[in-house]
Symmetry: C2
Subunit: 174 residues, 2 copies
């Protein structure tokens, strides 16, 4: 009985090690999938500067802020296309909801604000590592966990349509 | 003739000096008006961190981002009410417009973004200097120029309705 439990524990430990070995390093692409994507959140993104905000109406009913690291902000301000390696864009998405507090004061349904978070998406520029997807690694996190590889396959084919601005939809808002 | 021109130039120079003397120092309140307000843009505000975004529908048809200096960001994250002296909030407002570029790609009118800038408003916390208006100095800039004092009289009476959150409407978006 004891031998069986020991074997079982060793087997679990071995499996855990293998998982660690095959998991991509922080910020690295998942080399196994056809479309490499980013599986670790870039640290400190919530302290990055504001690029712009968007509202997607209709089924998405989403509002979001695009933040960028220093490389991103400088590139936007200088109009650098393509974006240099090291650029990281963070799109923070939320439900688009009326602000009951504000509207009570204004006396009408006028004010809309970010509600519950829905996901956070990143674009990481590394023209070598992510050459297969236009030099950008894509990432989606829901509740802090990366989306599955299959769902990430639609990022590049859509962003590629914004080729004139290096696959980036958002413009810098002064 | 020369004496007259010299007198004229001296008179202009004297007037210019007087204007400089009576103009408020950068970031200081206009002590002459009943409701003190801020007449100089706090420097570097576009590099401040993102607090949240809002959309005001209806006649305003506005979208805006609220940015805050370090004191502001820390206060929001720690839930400090009232906000400490030194807090500065910057509300950057724009026309709320559809993104023709994005919508062409999405195949429907779905995407709304900041259009032309309309104004930038500030709230500067100094509980002594701005004691008459809840400790906040208010500011509105259009094309970089401060709005007239009369138009600023409506700021405090409306913001005061958000007394539970120290006259600040916007919530921090995580």
């Amino acid at each position: 009985m004891m031998r069986r439990i020991t074997f079982f524990l060793v087997a679990i430990a071995t499996m855990a090690s293998l998982v660690t070995l095959v998991a991509p390093a922080p910020g690295q692409a998942d080399g196994q999938s056809a479309a490499p994507y980013v599986t670790e959140m870039p640290p400190g993104y919530r302290d990055w500067r504001w690029i712009s905000s968007t509202h997607e109406a209709g089924n998405l009913n989403s509002t979001g802020a695009l933040l960028g690291n220093d490389v991103a902000i400088n590139a936007f301000r200088e109009g650098k296309i393509p974006f240099p390696d090291g650029t990281i864009l963070a799109a923070l998405h939320y439900k688009y909801v009326p602000s009951d507090e504000n509207n009570a004061i204004f006396g009408q349904v006028q004010s809309f604000v970010p509600g519950a978070p829905t996901n956070i998406q990143f674009m990481v520029k590394d023209s070598t590592k992510y050459a297969a997807t236009g030099g950008w690694g894509y990432a989606t996190f829901v509740d802090g966990k990366p989306a599955d590889a299959a769902s990430m396959k639609s990022c590049f084919p859509c962003h590629e349509k914004a080729k004139a601005t290096d696959d980036v939809f958002t413009r810098y808002t002064p």
